[in-house]
Symmetry: D2
Subunit: 276 residues, 4 copies
Amino acid sequence: MNKEELANNSIKCLDKGFVRLVDFMGDDSAIVQAARVSYGNGTKSYREDRGLIRYLMRNSHTSPFEMVEFKFHVRLPIFVARQWIRHRTANVNEYSGRYSEMTDEFYVPDLIQLRHQSKNNKQGRSEQNLELHHAENVLKKMKQSQKNSYNEYKFYLEEDLARELARINLPLSSYTEWYWKIDLHNLFHFLRLRLDSHAQFEIRIYAEAIAEIIKKIVPISFEAFEDFRLYSKSFSRIELEFLKNIIDKSKLKEKALLDLGLSKREATDIIDFFNE
Amino acid sequence: MNKEELANNSIKCLDKGFVRLVDFMGDDSAIVQAARVSYGNGTKSYREDRGLIRYLMRNSHTSPFEMVEFKFHVRLPIFVARQWIRHRTANVNEYSGRYSEMTDEFYVPDLIQLRHQSKNNKQGRSEQNLELHHAENVLKKMKQSQKNSYNEYKFYLEEDLARELARINLPLSSYTEWYWKIDLHNLFHFLRLRLDSHAQFEIRIYAEAIAEIIKKIVPISFEAFEDFRLYSKSFSRIELEFLKNIIDKSKLKEKALLDLGLSKREATDIIDFFNE
Amino acid sequence: MNKEELANNSIKCLDKGFVRLVDFMGDDSAIVQAARVSYGNGTKSYREDRGLIRYLMRNSHTSPFEMVEFKFHVRLPIFVARQWIRHRTANVNEYSGRYSEMTDEFYVPDLIQLRHQSKNNKQGRSEQNLELHHAENVLKKMKQSQKNSYNEYKFYLEEDLARELARINLPLSSYTEWYWKIDLHNLFHFLRLRLDSHAQFEIRIYAEAIAEIIKKIVPISFEAFEDFRLYSKSFSRIELEFLKNIIDKSKLKEKALLDLGLSKREATDIIDFFNE
Amino acid sequence: MNKEELANNSIKCLDKGFVRLVDFMGDDSAIVQAARVSYGNGTKSYREDRGLIRYLMRNSHTSPFEMVEFKFHVRLPIFVARQWIRHRTANVNEYSGRYSEMTDEFYVPDLIQLRHQSKNNKQGRSEQNLELHHAENVLKKMKQSQKNSYNEYKFYLEEDLARELARINLPLSSYTEWYWKIDLHNLFHFLRLRLDSHAQFEIRIYAEAIAEIIKKIVPISFEAFEDFRLYSKSFSRIELEFLKNIIDKSKLKEKALLDLGLSKREATDIIDFFNE
């Protein structure tokens, strides 16, 4: 897939938002190129790029991943933007309500997203939906309230109240938009946190769209990210001791590991770890 | 003023906000200490700390100012927080509406702040107030709308809608709070932008409170910041050529400059500049 | 241990270097304080700080750890400084060879550190020492060469060659010094990489000294760092599938995990993970 | 000039170094594009991009300049690399002497660069050259010493001493190389400091090469950078008071300023400033 095709790619997110790849610099080969400068002859033995990229990801040699850069155009609700902006190692240009008039677009959740507060997860929603007529009532109220807020805003503008003040009662569900530029290493960090099941559903939707887009540009790195980060699991010191005691060492065979697709080095490492 | 006294200092901001210094590390002497490591014998000739600090500020040797750190507790409206957070080189822990219930505190501007949109400044408010009965009407509407929004929020919570969704129609005028930690160099950058007359009035109030607090802790650095940054002015290449042509060189005397308090070096520099 | 006692603490590193804690801001309680702002009522149930800190570390809620700051004075060889400086989220003031004369101090390894190139680790030294008379020969050469370099440097200075040029043939083993300031989250990242067995021995010595110092100031956080980061191990997607197949599920009992010191939540998580 | 032509551009620096543009993302139009999202309708009145870019630069609206990214491949002496790396907001992959063998390339200054220590500038070299036979002697010594250091290094490698130790007596004049990626805003900051007459000559050469390359890619931004940053001058609070007193106000005419190429807004600002 070439740059032109991708640049026109835009993925709809939530009810009125989107993620659109505007530009990018580099791909898997740029990572390999940078790594080979760093590790020089040390990387001669990696005959193929895939092996090198997976080695870098596995061993947290993160700087070569910083050599790839992505720029997105995103439309998103303000409450999502507030979570997103916490990722500081990125560049942002956001639509300004001081310079320009805000539009009358607000996020309205799907009925199915209206869930009860989670009982065991203090920050999130549970799997349990509101009863239908309650949910419908909530949605109706939300829409009416958004409409009222926007009318209020328009009234202030008609009074010629400065835009920077007129906007202050607009709701957090208001849509904003921005250009967002980030390198691949920091984007993986963003994705790891925002694809997580504990991330709020509304930002997860954007993370999934971004993942969808970048996996076409850096397929090898993305697969390595999935294997060694996203779907990995870290065990604490105590948990590791416990694991050592409950595994069946007779099944700890190199062949089994190689058959699963591990490299020789990875297989040796895991066997050594449990036998030491 | 010692650490204990300051730590209890809190300055009210806007109608329901505040800035409170929670902790800090270092003061003017920490800057001098770090600079003397960098410039070693090179700084022997500066007999006093004030001279060294002013030299550092004037010559953009910014790293010693990074050696001082401040931590504030701030309560502020969300629309102010959104401008504030754009300063990325800082550490933040914000109150989370996912974990906890939002309070019913909203920013209501003073009547006198209800100004018309500026005509020559696209981002700001003018000096001209709304007519009194219009202004009173706006304020009444704002308060009513905030009350409605909070009732709406409470209703959603009673329906046991997840907090992370219940909050989405709360207005940008809602108060939030956070811990904010930043080094002095980056804080000066924040202050330079946010004390500026183009900054929105509401964030300027916070910048002024912070300035008030830190000038007691780093008085020499703060004065240097005022002289060489805050109240300085930069002229472009063309403007400088113009200035050279319109100054009265007969008045360009070292004595006059020294009398104003410039150092010998500063006086020589300015004379050389206009005579070259 | 109070601030005054610590501030005078200095740990010797290598033959002529040291790490000295100059100042710090905050401790375990500052982390708890910041977290409770973020997670508000959400953290009510954690009756004790230790539980909260371990929860934060385990779930990668890293921002509260950024609220603690350390400032060190370090003397170190330039080749170590070059590895160290790659950690960008920190503040540095280094001794400048442009401003000041370099001293005649150079790192000379202990005899026992003169090891062969590792065969399976492209970046490191093996466990195998050089034969004694070879090692002694190497050390003698090193010292002689350092002496020659310094004489060369002094000669250039006597010729009144600018210091910034006179120094260019000084060796990478030359000692430099700096002030280094960093927050606890980024310091943990530094320690994780630099305490690792793959880190060069000479920087590891400094990382160990820093660990020694900070564990007195943030004992609970440091223990959590050891448990969930330093001595943790991450398994890839494939490795996890393999592990699920080779553990003896009959031994996967909550009681066993609780007896090891895991929290109820941690125990449940691990059991759920292997049973899903 | 298109991407392919530029990508093959490499500029020699010093005796054995170079700067080569490897890739870039965006140009002047990307800055305009990002700014128009931020300032929306507020920028409608800027009929042309040049006006907008100059407005952004003049008013320190720096974030749109962060939307352009450059990646360079650089070969440079280690003492230059040590100054360069202090610019932290960039990405680096450097050749590693732990993984790979160092080459026998060292920086030897031109005879004409062998200058005396500056008397009034503590960090730099003066305009005054060493006497010829002294300079020749210095150069001869430098080359001999570099040759000796490399022979020493090769000897250690032959003894199979670990590379990470064998290199420690190599001089700071050794060439290294790296990939360096940075956004335009931070690159301008780098250039402002490193094109300055107080920067060490050897790094200035690299800054000039980089300036040469990027001015072809972002010509409008680069000109604005020159006008409002590089060739601008900032006057302190006291200096401004002094200037107000020594200018001939009869010459402060809008027409004169417009004739010099200032915008109407710029002309008004400067007249207002001196008349207030």
